[in-house]
Symmetry: C2
């Protein structure tokens, strides 16, 4: 195994900094999001969500666990699930990115205070976990299947990476805690230690990145050991099967993601890191195949992944029920981690397409507009309106009704928070030819090309409301360079207008303008964001006879409150209407609308009858209404409602 | 609460003997199944399945647990899950019915031997459970949510009822064990005891029946207490919610079955018993509503119940995914228990319709043709061929591929065995007007009307292969009596031919012939059993655009091995074909066939596209094949295969 970390890339303020690859990431100081929907999300995240999360972690004593550990009383009083330490670390990571993004001194101070409480609980040899190892607790590493010790370390390391890359001079000690813990892990699980892995992957990408951020090749090598051991049966064969934690076959032998969807994506992300740093092209090819097959056969139209509530796992190919979509928020955070690493490695726009889809339709769906309630799962079809959860009660994780303030298993809120705080990292990259823009958001880009030339660009757009994206060059160079822009796969009919030129067709993929740009030059991309009626491959049985509507990168949905507003009457349930015609989907004054026919009431006895005698075939229509469709990420913000993304069309 | 047990009904050799109701059950000595598919199932059950189950219970040490309990060593060595005792009791019950049915001396001897091992483990105060209460074990009733102690008692009582009603003079002591245990339960959970219920209902119908069989009103009153307490929040609020164990609302307030499907049906069955014995018409009405809504909105075409793998539970109304159908075998056994009690109470043919559907399409599906491997879940769509399970390994419960010899949770095999052994109980009933035949199977009925008149009938039929059912009267009486026959709800066009008369139309429901029959009289019912193409209410979203094929009471399916035989090529996967036309479904030489078009291969990238550009709309067809459809209960008997009940038709 050869690990050669390139120290020159280490200081970029971004989650992933590979030492080689097609594209180089830019940091939060290179790209500033200046407006639009993402800026609003970031502001709410920094203002409301971080404090909300910290409140609940204090309320649930997940922070207090560290104090109790330091005081020697945690064995009797530990609160929360076995992985609650990791949620605290994800909050630290989110805070660290937020400080890097907004320079918020108050957040910085809160972070510092939290780190001190954690530091007090670390043991002299670097071990740190409030659940294991003390008198009265189970022994360290005695339950690698479910204990989550290595998983917790992983989130600790990612927090430290965020801190190191945004505030390298911080004196809070978070980086030192992480290094001490990582040294312990390398000793305990290195080639002379336990030849095992943890039940929940996460330490793999985290160790790789801590190695990149600190220059410690040992950490990357330990990540590589964990990746190589996965799939060799070192974990118990549980009722869900070893595939649940990807221990059913070696990573390089797999052809598709399977098992627990968060675990699968975190592992894949870490395996890409290992493949890059060890120059393992066979492993990278296997992961690329896994990504392709997962996208082609096991991903929801929202980008969501994980079809099964049971095991929170992927289903078989084509098994994508909208009403039982688990589509865990965290699985989509993991999917973005996986896709982003492949994008940096290979530069292909398909990865940025999926990231965009996933950000708009899963990650943005999880939090409420106020940023203080969340979806853990993200169903594509809500059959029951449900009730409004109390704002002061933690709820079970997968009650797919309205967003809840907190969960007994609350992995998703801090995962969303760290993603929003670091969103600018996913906007653009550079390579030797120039700069690539992957996501369209009002922004200022102030960076340098690898050859040292300064680049200053502004992006002006109302995307996705409007399809016009203007890139304004603020610097001049004698030598030409290339601006690359992603044309989303769905954007048939897009046009590109180079500076001073006429629009030309821009096919989906990547379009490039190479020029010795001068200050004031404008490159304009126009993509058609109007509503599109979309059907699924017929093998996705659960949505046969249905269509979905997309607008730009956003998946639309029908919510019952809008049916009621349109006069549908009789419960105004999305389960009682079908699309009148595909042609009825249109945009009026910026709002997508469609015509629906209200179905006859169901028979109240046996629901299976002679074909021809059931409403499916001979459907008497009572009412036709035109109702608005809203962006899926906006649903369930107006009280209890039923909702569906896939609209019956036959 | 008034419980007046009518002692005259106590000795009928059948599982359920209410003291009042519309119909009176007949015993295994009144009805003998003499041939046909049910007789074959019973023979295999008695010959192969009972021994198979006993072998595995010995092999897994579930029987040894009782020996260890008697020896005082079970705390260190207990094997199996917390409910394994109950499986042993279900085996005892199956053996008891089998002895009653076939008079098999060897089974009788094995039963007696097993009872002796169990007797040795009972504690002096009647308590009996190998998992709780001894030094080194958890305290009795310290985990009512998951401990299954009351559930185990329930199955013990049902076994004792079977023994008492088929061999009242047996000296094995099973009935005494049960009475001692029931006395203990009444003391521990009576009005002066713990005011709680068990996490898994079952003791409710069991106590009611033990009360009926022994004449002890106290047992029925204890059952009534348990039913009344259910839904008052005496169990913990678990992550699955209190609805999981029906503790979310009182039984009489519920309008539909919900939560764990086995728990829900067992509880409903016991609540009917309580409603009958306490003359509680309000409770009976609530249960009738629950049955109606469950059948109308939450039941698979097979009669199977339970749409969720997670929690093995009912889903919301209309949520019936074929590929993720849990449809646990035991839930269908419970559904038959519930329906049978309502049939006895009310006499309506709809209950017998559902029993027939469930017997043919779930209970008969679970065991292999050899009776030594089982489905725990009964999916309606198998996407992966899977692999053949080893014959010597116990497997996790819900691997929906091929039948497995045994499961870590093996509730289903003995549940099927006790149902098959007692099948004759569900064939016919009597009331003051005469005799009712509910299920059509070659049989001899030798019984008496309530007024004492002897009745002798023979039923001759090849049903369901053929639709002709001949009821031959072997006795003569001066006074007329009424023979009632069920015409299945699907049997449009049936005819009835009274003795010496011409055929007349027989509408679905109940048809009656009242006559002073003389020996040799023949009543002939003819029902059209040819293939029917059936569609679902469009609210069952998961099967939109599909049809199913039924033949008589049997649901048909397409298995990939038959597609391959028909020359479908390219993997011959049921996921790659659609029905060419509904008219192509026909019967040829007793075999149902249909024409299928083979779909184009799927695209290998993003599977959601502009409507019109995906195969759903513009599907190039390469091959048309005519393939046989087989009875669903026969599938997966020819090696690994894919299968679907619902056939895409658009």
């Amino acid at each position: 195994m050869i690990v050669n970390l390139t120290s020159t890339t280490r200081t970029v303020a971004t989650p992933v900094v590979p030492s080689r690859g097609a594209l180089r990431p830019l940091g939060l100081d290179d790209v500033r999001i200046t407006g639009g929907v993402w800026a609003r999300r970031q502001a709410i995240n920094g203002r409301a969500t971080l404090a909300h999360i910290e409140y609940w972690m204090e309320h649930e004593s997940w922070l207090g666990n560290f104090d109790a550990a330091a005081a020697g009383t945690v064995a009797e009083h530990r609160a929360g699930r076995e992985f609650s330490d990791s949620e605290v670390y994800k909050l630290l990571e989110a805070m660290a990115w937020e400080v890097g993004r907004s320079d918020d001194a108050e957040v910085d101070a809160r972070l510092t205070t939290l780190v001190a409480r954690i530091a007090a609980a670390q043991e002299p040899d670097g071990y740190l976990n409030t659940q294991f190892g003390r008198p009265g607790q189970r022994a360290r590493y005695s339950d690698l299947e479910w204990g989550h010790e290595l998983y917790c370390f992983g989130h600790l390391f990612q927090a430290a990476v965020a801190r190191l890359r945004t505030r390298p001079d911080a004196t809070d000690g978070l980086v030192q805690i992480a290094r001490l813990a990582a040294d312990h892990v390398c000793a305990a699980f290195g080639s002379g230690g336990l030849q095992r892995v943890g039940g929940h992957p996460e330490i793999e990408p985290a160790l790789a990145e801590l190695g990149r951020a600190t220059g410690e090749a040992r950490y990357v090598e330990q990540a590589a050991l964990f990746v190589a051991r996965r799939g060799t049966g070192t974990l118990a064969d549980i009722e869900l099967g070893r595939s649940y934690y990807q221990d059913d076959m070696p990573v390089r032998d797999a052809t598709v993601l399977r098992g627990h969807a968060v675990r699968a994506n975190y592992l894949a992300a870490g395996a890409v890191d290992v493949a890059i740093e060890t120059d393992d092209s066979e492993l990278l090819a296997a992961l690329t195949t896994q990504w392709e097959n997962t996208i082609a056969h096991r991903t929801y139209i929202t980008g969501g992944q994980g079809a099964h509530h049971s095991g929170e796992s992927f289903g078989d190919d084509w098994e994508l029920p909208p009403d039982r979509a688990y589509s865990e928020t965290c699985a989509s955070v993991g999917s973005i981690m996986f896709s982003w690493r492949l994008l940096l490695a290979q530069g292909l726009p398909r990865y940025a397409d999926l990231i965009e889809r996933t950000l708009y339709n899963v990650v943005a769906t999880s939090p409420s507009h106020e940023g203080t309630a969340f979806f853990y799962t993200n169903t594509l079809h809500q059959r029951q309106p449900g009730t409004t959860p109390a704002t002061d009660v933690s709820v079970p994780r997968a009650t797919s009704s309205l967003r809840a303030p907190w969960f007994a298993v609350s992995c998703c809120p801090p995962n969303v928070a760290r993603t929003f705080a670091s969103l600018a990292a996913y906007v653009a990259t550079v390579d030797d030819t120039g700069l690539q823009i992957h996501q369209y958001v009002p922004s200022q880009i102030r960076t340098h090309l690898p050859d040292g030339r300064a680049l200053e660009l502004d992006v002006e757009t109302d995307y996705p409301a409007d399809g016009r994206i203007r890139v304004i060059v603020r610097t001049s160079h004698a030598e030409p360079w290339t601006l690359s822009l992603r044309v989303p796969a769905w954007a048939t009919g897009a046009t590109l207008t180079p500076p001073g030129d006429l629009p030309t067709p821009a096919a989906p993929g990547t379009v490039r303008v190479t020029s010795a740009f001068t200050a004031g030059d404008v490159v304009e991309l126009w993509v058609p964001v109007g509503p599109r009626v979309v059907a699924a491959d017929p093998r996705i049985d659960a949505v046969r006879g249905c269509v979905a509507v997309e607008r730009g990168p956003e998946v639309m949905c029908l919510e019952s409150i809008d049916l009621a507003g349109a006069g549908a009457g009789r419960d105004a349930d999305v389960g009682h209407v079908h699309l009148a015609s595909r042609d009825s989907v249109r945009e009026v004054d910026g709002q997508v609308v469609a015509r629906f026919e209200v179905d006859a009431p169901p028979a109240d006895d046996w629901p299976y009858g002679a074909s021809g005698a059931v409403p499916d075939v001979d459907r008497p229509t009572t009412t036709v209404v035109e109702a608005p469709l809203i962006a899926y990420h906006d649903w369930a913000n107006r009280g209890p409602s039923t909702m569906r993304v896939w609209l019956p069309s036959t």
